[in-house]
Symmetry: C2
Subunit: 159 residues, 2 copies
């Protein structure tokens, strides 16, 4: 059960976009974002498109165009980023094996009560999501060593 690498990319890129916005350098072209962390441009673009579809970023086409955050970094959480890249599905997918084999003859109403395994898994994922929702892009930006933001802005704005 490994998470898409795109989640890491997207989280860091969102922090960059936040810094760019603060410095008045938004929007930032995808090529520049890829260069900032030496990521494969074409593939990063795919992840950025997912962020856009999820409403976290908006993009400006044409020359001097690029990508920017669609709302303040304080209102974009890691949960939003994970959901945008990974999609809406839970990690655990209950396939209701309890209805098969020795229970195949039972009527469907015998399984009205949700499966205990699925329920516990769901609760655990909710705890995970709550924790992710507790950290915003602004929080991540704020926890970065001093001066790093200014350096990033300088890089992003460079010709």
């Amino acid at each position: 059960m490994r998470m898409n690498e795109g989640v890491e990319w997207a989280a860091h890129v969102c922090v960059l976009l936040h810094w760019a916005e603060e410095g008045g350098d938004a929007p930032v072209p995808a090529t520049r974002l890829a260069a900032a962390y030496d990521l494969p441009t074409a593939y990063l673009v795919k992840q950025l498109q997912a962020l856009g579809r999820a409403g976290l970023t908006e993009s400006v086409p044409g020359r001097r165009g690029g990508v920017r955050l669609a709302r303040p970094a304080a209102r974009i959480t890691l949960m939003d980023v994970v959901a945008a890249i990974e999609g809406p599905d839970d990690a655990f997918a209950c396939t209701e094996i309890r209805r098969q084999g020795m229970n195949a003859e039972r009527p469907a109403r015998d399984f009205a009560q949700p499966c205990g395994v699925a329920h516990a898994m769901r609760e655990a994922e909710l705890a995970w999501r709550r924790a992710l929702a507790a950290t915003s892009i602004a929080d991540l930006a704020g926890s970065t060593p001093a001066g790093r933001a200014a350096d990033a802005r300088r890089f992003l704005a460079a010709p």
Copy 2:
């Protein structure tokens, strides 16, 4: 980020093994466990081997052999099962992209402080694991509708 189907199988199978133990019918052969939920035997066997390596189950070779829980169901949690099947790695793998591209020239000591993204992801996974650890196989068995356990024992003990 989807979880192995084997986790669902293993959780349900552990509940079956608990019931079998209660009824004095342990150990249970893998073929019988597979039949109980109509699972592909050979592949279920692989998952059972993972449970064994993790110390959750022990197996008895030879005729009248099979698999049984290695300790009381109350002391086996969903966390144990997930870790046994999925392996020890976190879902989120930090690849330290922050050190690349615009930061490639920085000395390693600039990154002594762990990455904020990785830290937040780690905290969220810990919350997930804590939640999983709060549910034991005995809890799952206890939340099953009355009579289901006896039926399962009857099936597992059948010729």
